[in-house]
Amino acid sequence: MTSQIHTGQTIIDPPEDGHFRNGAGSNGLAPSPTTLSLHLTINGRDHALEIEPRVTLLDALRDRLHLTGTKKGCDQGQCGACTVHVDGERVLACLTLAAQVEGREITTIEGLAGEDGTLNAVQAAFLEHDAFQCGYCTPGQIMSAVACIREGHAGSDEEIREYMAGNLCRCGAYPNIVAAVRQAAQELRS
């Protein structure tokens, strides 16, 4: 179901018959030809949406569900700011239609810390190592870093640099990002 691109993020392919399943319309009426009724599971919670099929996961999160932690940097799959997890894999939300991820587990930056606010090890390491400045690429960096460590691609600084290369940071926090990912990976291993 997924195609690998160069730095680890995945693009979700459409179902094999090419058709996304349309849900029943709201209010018991016939489904609108221009909107879909979707149920998305985001950070463990169900969200119902009535949206056009062309709405991306990124715009659904930011504009419809007001989960604005996921950032729009380029809307073209080039910067990584919109990285979220779908079934645990890192995915570019700007290149994913919301309709493609119904029935899957979506995790965004807002769902990374524990219920009690305990930071994920990667989040804590980003703060400690000052691995960001403006903070705009940061949610995507952190989501990529969590997946990078889980994928087993944080074994060395070289490997971290390579597998974090799909997330641009114009403030230039890269050396601090490498330090943060290195530390978080060590903590998670031990």
Partner: protein, 764 residues
């Protein structure tokens, strides 16, 4: 408005929290959890979405627009064209000069650059607006465009006399010098490329306008909106709690800003307009392309006798931008004879703008490569060459440096890098098929100063609130102002909330030119000092105060507790004291302006740049300084260049928070690596269009491009530069990186590349 509350263990050392301590960012927790709401993330009832249509020609007229299909598309509320958008008034420029035109139309009939906005579609949803914008049909009468500086039609341009700097007889001294070098150095059009796109949300309520927009200058932009729409300045509120990077690009209200605000007024509904990524390459100016020639004449011992410098930068057909190319050339080295002149050439581009260290950055590329060429010519080590010609005072202003730790930077950087082990001959160091090159260069940036103001409030619960309409785009403003207020008042930093990014707070000038930290720490220091004076005054004099009967001259506040400095009498927390005297709050507004300043002068101070204080004011010439040492590895077969090591020693004076300053320095170095090896706006010569206006084709450095970077602070407090002794941080470190890399590439390969970026086809 944003509040940052610092929560950390009380055991954290006071050293960490004080000014100069390595406190982690107080806005960090919001940024790493996704809780930080950037301006464009404001959620409003009834929000509509606008999408722009850009010109597909670079010069000519819009002869017709057919918007019928777009108007009838689902969800569309309006299609705005040059004929249907409301008329705006002309606004003054950033110096406060009135507009030459009484009216302003942000949608163009006369096209002067590709991508210029000519129409906008407003719809209920973003998707509907995007789809309908594609249905707008435009016809043009196209005329020939001047696509860039190398266009045959471009000509020599317009002399900018204000840029001329001359002393001695530079031409004659150059002609007479026993050793001479002369070369041309070029930099391409470069872009700020902040990760957060430009855009805004505009909402009118009667004659009151609220704008949520990423902004480096709330008060300046509010002034522009007020003038466009003919409403009082106080009616415009700009909100910009976090900025996703600016690098100089987000200081002005631009054409797209006017379109969104006008659309909101016309529709009577809030409008959100965000530039898509390609539009971020054409809707505002990046760094202008530049050309320089640098001629240096020296004696055989390497002493410079003369520097002759000529520069050109591109500007727009209908706008002026001067990138001061002689700024570093004229101060870095001692020379008895000097001449620098500059022209600008009009081409069909959006008006170029400020990008990190405008002027100093390309200027250093010229002079710092040229000095390396001279060193090679004479067989003198490039570091020794710089020491031979060390400027003991400002050669142009003829004034003493306020502080100049450049000699210390050379020494510390060379030591940490291992420069003494450099083999001088090009192509003499290698690792298998990789040629290794070691290069160095110096950098500098002036200390830009201005007056600022801030409000500091002591609340009944003992907490402290700092308010300013200045901003934090990643430099650490929230953090250093919390540290400044905490230290000045004697309270734990966790008790301080800093509120920024709302033009209704105390006014602030532009955040640019690396001046914010010096200006704002000074203003907060002053306001907090006034609040402390009032607190202590009250404690000594109020009849309800438990301290009144002490008959003391003063009291001290430590860790948020008030006590006699002699250790006698009561000790109260600020909250207990406020309760005792029945006060809700103590508020102080501190500014660094002279007391005689009029209201008009205050307004001009915050809404224009006309009141900036020259860096050579009075007896001193004030600058930050740095020295970069770089190792590159060049693949002998493929010509690929990798930066494998960077050591930079920097003099930014006193650092208010070294942890955050080091991050900014590294960021500047990394942007400089991009400039040296990757970044170039490529213009299609047929259509005058930027063809690589996206993040895949305009290449920014990625994590995999960046090696370990070591930064060393060699600064000392500079009392002439700011209240607390700091100089500029944000722009300094990018200055000199590109020439250090170019010099390292020459050392590795023996090839001198004088056109940035240094791409492989220039090396093989």
């Amino acid at each position: 408005m944003t509040v940052h509350d610092m929560k950390h263990a009380a055991s954290d050392s006071a050293r960490l929290e004080a000014v100069g301590g390595r406190l982690s960012r107080v806005d960090g927790p919001a940024k790493i959890t996704g809780a930080a709401k950037y301006a464009l993330e404001q959620q409003l009832e009834g929000l509509t979405h606008a999408v722009l249509v850009g010109a597909t020609i670079a010069a000519g007229k819009v002869s017709a627009i057919d918007s019928r299909a777009a108007e009838t598309a689902p969800g569309v509320l309006a299609v705005l064209t040059p004929d249907t958008i409301m008329e705006l008034k002309g606004a003054s420029d950033w110096l406060g000069n009135p507009s030459p035109q009484p009216t302003y139309n942000p949608l163009a009939r006369e096209v002067t650059y590709s991508g210029q906005h000519i129409a906008a579609v407003v719809a209920e949803t973003f998707e509907q607006a995007v789809a309908a914008a594609a249905l707008v049909k435009v016809w043009y009468d196209e005329t020939p465009a001047i696509v860039d500086l190398s266009d045959g039609k471009a000509g020599d341009g317009i002399p900018i006399d204000a840029m001329t700097k001359e002393w001695g007889d530079a031409e004659a001294a150059f002609a007479a010098a026993p050793v001479r070098i002369c070369a041309a150095y070029n930099t391409p059009r470069e872009f700020q490329a902040a990760m957060e796109p430009h855009g805004l949300i505009a909402r009118w309520e009667g004659d009151a306008l609220t704008i949520w927009e990423p902004s480096q200058w709330l008060d300046g932009m509010a002034r522009t909106y007020a003038e466009w729409f003919g409403v009082p300045f106080e009616n415009v509120r700009l909100v910009s709690p976090y900025i996703g990077g600016g690098f100089g690009s987000k200081a002005l209200a631009l054409a797209h800003s006017a379109v969104a605000a006008a659309a909101a007024k016309m529709l009577g509904r809030p409008v959100k307009l965000v530039l898509n990524r390609p539009q971020n390459f054409t809707s505002y100016g990046g760094r202008a392309a530049t050309r320089q020639t640098v001629a240096i004449g020296a004696d055989r011992d390497g002493r410079i006798q003369s520097i002759v410098h000529r520069g050109v930068n591109e500007t727009a057909v209908d706008g002026m931008w001067v990138e001061p190319l002689g700024s570093v050339t004229s101060i870095m080295y001692a020379t008895p004879n000097f001449s620098s002149k500059q022209n600008v050439v009009r081409v069909n581009t959006v008006v170029p703008g400020a990008k990190r260290a405008p002027g100093e950055n390309p200027s250093a590329f010229g002079i710092e490569c040229a000095i390396d060429e001279l060193a090679h010519e004479l067989g003198i080590d490039p570091l020794e060459m710089r020491l031979i010609n060390y400027a003991e005072q400002d050669p142009h202003a003829k004034k003493a440096w306020s502080t100049r730790q450049l000699r210390e930077a050379f020494a510390a950087g060379a030591e940490a890098f291992g420069w003494a082990k450099r083999s001088p001959q090009p192509r003499s160091m290698r690792d298998g098929r990789q040629l290794i090159g070691w290069g160095m260069a110096a950098g500098t940036y002036p200390v830009r100063r201005a007056h600022g103001e801030a409000v500091v409030k002591l609340l009944a619960d003992g907490s402290v609130v700092v308010e300013s309409s200045s901003i934090d785009m990643g430099q650490g403003t929230y953090t250093i102002l919390a540290q400044t207020a905490a230290e000045t008042l004697g309270v734990p930093v966790e008790n301080v909330s800093v509120k920024l990014g709302d033009s209704h707070f105390a006014r602030a000038g532009v955040t640019g030119g690396s001046r914010l930290a010096g200006v704002m720490t000074g203003a907060v220091y002053k306001a907090a000092g006034q609040a402390l004076d009032e607190l202590i005054g009250l404690a000594l004099s109020d009849p309800r105060s438990p301290f009144q009967k002490l008959q003391a001259n003063t009291l001290q506040v430590r860790d948020g507790r008030i006590a006699s400095s002699r250790g006698e009498g009561p000790e109260l927390s600020i909250a207990e004291f406020m309760a005792a005297v029945g006060r809700e709050q103590i508020e102080a507004k501190g500014d660094t302006l002279p007391a005689s300043t009029t209201a008009e002068e205050r307004y001009a101070n915050y809404t224009t740049i006309a009141k900036s204080i020259p860096h050579t004011e009075g007896d001193w010439s004030r600058h930050s300084w740095c020295a970069h040492f770089v190792e590159v590895r060049v693949d002998e077969d493929f010509g690929t260049v990798r930066v494998s090591r960077v050591v930079s020693a920097l003099d930014s004076g006193r650092l208010y928070n070294p942890k955050l300053a080091e991050s900014q320095w590294k960021g500047g170095i990394i942007m400089g690596i991009g400039q040296a090896l990757l970044e170039e706006g490529i213009v299609d010569r047929r259509h005058g269009r930027i063809v690589n206006g996206n993040f895949a084709d305009y290449m920014l450095p990625t994590n995999a491009d960046i090696p370990d970077i070591q930064t060393i602070s060699v600064g000392i407090p500079d009392p002439h530069s700011s209240a607390l002794g700091g100089k500029g941080v944000g722009e300094l470190a990018i200055v000199g990186i590109a020439p250090a890399i170019a010099n390292a590439v020459f050392h590795a390969t023996g090839k001198r590349v004088r056109d940035l970026p240094i791409t492989l086809e220039k090396l093989i």
